[in-house]
């Protein structure tokens, strides 16, 4: 049985984001609280609108949106995972695992491995997951600004609570 039906909804404040690194100890985190789900019964789609990603400095956000992610052309990051690849917990239980999925970003789609954790409590499912990405695989230029160049490998993550109706 799929985790979510078409009537399922995201509860509370979801979050999605990424963490990247630059030279030395430089790190960069982006986060958005916009996330939506689509479920056709066979596959779960997690869609994250990228226009809302914030890194703490809005000029950097603008560069990220306009120069690197090109969000006007590619507004969403989309992760698709087959229900059959997920191990769902019984009520009151939590499961951890990895599952294959397809990540679409910047107009390109690649196979990925998603590490996930799902906690089940009544009609609520608390879901978190993370996956490694190499931005150059998706045709995204490596961000570089005044001597600080971000490494192409980043970790993307998302967490949300869904309630099945």
């Amino acid at each position: 049985m799929p985790l979510l039906s078409g009537a399922a909804r995201v509860e509370g404040e979801p979050s999605a984001g990424f963490r990247g690194h630059g030279p030395g100890g430089f790190s960069l985190e982006g986060q958005t609280h916009q996330l939506r789900l689509e479920d056709d019964g066979a596959r779960l789609k997690i869609l994250v609108p990228l226009a809302g990603l914030q890194t703490g400095i809005s000029l950097r956000d603008r560069h990220m949106r306009e120069k690197y992610l090109e969000v006007e052309r590619y507004p969403d990051a989309v992760l698709e995972v087959a229900w059959s690849a997920l191990r769902l917990p019984a009520d009151g239980q939590t499961t951890d695992g990895t599952a294959p999925g397809k990540m679409t970003l910047h107009g390109q789609t690649h196979d990925v491995q998603v590490a996930y954790r799902i906690s089940h409590s009544g009609a609520r499912y608390q879901v978190s997951g993370r996956l490694p990405l190499k931005m150059t695989d998706y045709g995204i230029s490596v961000p570089s600004y005044l001597g600080v160049t971000v490494k192409p490998d980043v970790e993307a993550s998302a967490s949300f609570t869904a309630e099945r109706t």
Binding site: H21, S27, E29, L146
Partner: protein
């Protein structure tokens, strides 16, 4: 008379005045508000403070000043320095820091008012591939004697830092040698807070010569310095070699970033000198270790930076202090600081600080309310009101200071 003995003879009120002037050059741990847990992207010194890199100079235009109706997205940072008037190659970093102030201080002996030139430093540095170098050179009319190149009672030329370095392992491992800031605790701007003055780890003049290893990775940063001494200390007593006052030992920290909003660090310092310098953390009591022989000084503690959310940042540090010398009973003490920095609009900081000190068997405590306004790129106006109850034998001696400053940097 030795340098230290000369300092010991200061009238307590004058000693207090000498202690207060100089918020140090720029070092802003509250930049964690912008997600910066590490310092090396913006500063030539990978542990933070002072001279800015090309990236740091851009952040100083984007993230620090009030933007007067513009948003950060509208800012196009000017290259080079002097608002773009002087271009610089990316490997060369030059900076200027000018800080002047008016200080009013009220003690039981009355109120004094005076103007102070705190800092007039020119800095230059190189970040060329794996090679780094940094030097500062400046003038101070009063104070900063531990960084003085000249040996005058006042009007000295100072060099707070001068060092060479190399970085390897994807810029995560640094080896630095020369006159360096001691890696310990918060590198906060208020150099006369108890945690900085009692541990002698401020960035005003407490740098020492030595060799430092710095590890600068995304989730952990650390520094460990072998201290060879402050070679700029000179004894004015021919019978006492200057080297007697040079501390040898280590200072270091390790700080974990549990997210881009919270860090927790551990610091440790232990030094030995044949003769002890005077502590100015509490200038109203005699330091039993001043000019003492075979002096061991230790400080060990925790520090933390936390972006609580929105405009709020909390900074905290607590240190254990241990000092011993030949023929002097070992002194156990401690120093602590808790500071809240609120930035309701970009560039305007409302800062509340509470601090305490237990040293030489008396307890001191104090509170600061400060307003710092970075009203334009490279320009800061700051007002500190500082109330301190200095511990003295049998009681406390209150002090109330108002310090107004103008700071220009580029």
């Amino acid at each position: 008379m030795s340098l230290d003995a000369r300092r010991r003879r200061l009238h307590p009120g004058l000693a207090l005045l000498l202690l207060l002037p100089a918020l140090s050059a720029e070092a802003y741990p509250w930049m964690i508000r912008n997600g910066y847990t590490n310092c090396s992207a913006c500063h030539v010194d990978p542990s933070g403070w002072g001279l800015l890199t090309e990236y740091g100079r851009a952040q100083a235009q984007i993230a620090i000043p009030t933007l007067w109706g513009k948003s950060q997205e509208d800012v196009e940072p000017t290259p080079g320095i002097a608002y773009g008037a002087i271009p610089l190659p990316s490997w060369l970093n030059i900076g200027l820091s000018l800080r002047g102030a008016v200080l009013s201080q009220t003690t039981s002996q009355g109120t004094t008012v005076r103007d102070i030139l705190m800092i007039a430093d020119l800095r230059a540095g190189v970040t060329a591939g794996p090679f780094l170098a940094s030097v500062s050179f400046g003038y101070v009319p009063v104070g900063a004697t531990l960084a003085a190149l000249t040996n005058q009672p006042r009007d000295n030329l100072v060099s707070r830092e001068h060092w060479l370095g190399v970085r390897v392992a994807e810029d995560q491992l640094y080896v630095l040698g020369g006159r360096l800031n001691l890696p310990f605790g918060l590198r906060n701007v208020e150099h006369n807070t108890f945690v900085r003055s009692s541990t002698r780890t401020d960035t005003d003049s407490s740098q020492q010569y030595g060799l430092e290893l710095v590890w600068d990775a995304p989730s952990v940063r650390a520094g460990l310095m072998g201290i060879a001494g402050n070679f700029l200390i000179r004894s004015s007593d021919p019978a006492i070699p200057s080297s007697d006052y040079w501390e040898k030992g280590y200072s270091g920290y390790v700080e974990g970033a549990f997210s881009n909003r919270f860090t927790l660090g551990l610091s440790s310092l232990a030094t030995h000198a044949d003769r002890g310098l005077t502590s100015f953390a509490n200038p109203l009591i005699p330091d039993p270790f001043a000019n003492g022989q075979d002096v061991w000084r230790q400080a060990h503690g925790l520090f933390s930076r936390w972006h609580v959310g929105g405009p709020w940042v909390l900074l905290a540090e607590a240190d254990l202090l241990v000092e011993s010398a030949s023929g002097v009973a070992r002194d156990w003490g401690g120093a602590g600081l808790l500071q809240a920095d609120v930035e309701p609009i970009q560039g305007l900081h409302l800062i509340l600080t509470g601090e305490g000190l237990r040293q030489f068997e008396v307890t001191s405590y104090g509170g600061w309310f400060s307003v710092a306004w970075f009203f334009f790129t490279g320009c800061e106006a700051r007002l500190d009101t500082i109330f301190t109850e200095y511990g003295v034998p049998g009681g406390h001696e209150p002090s109330f200071s108002v310090l107004g400053q103008l700071h220009f940097s580029m």
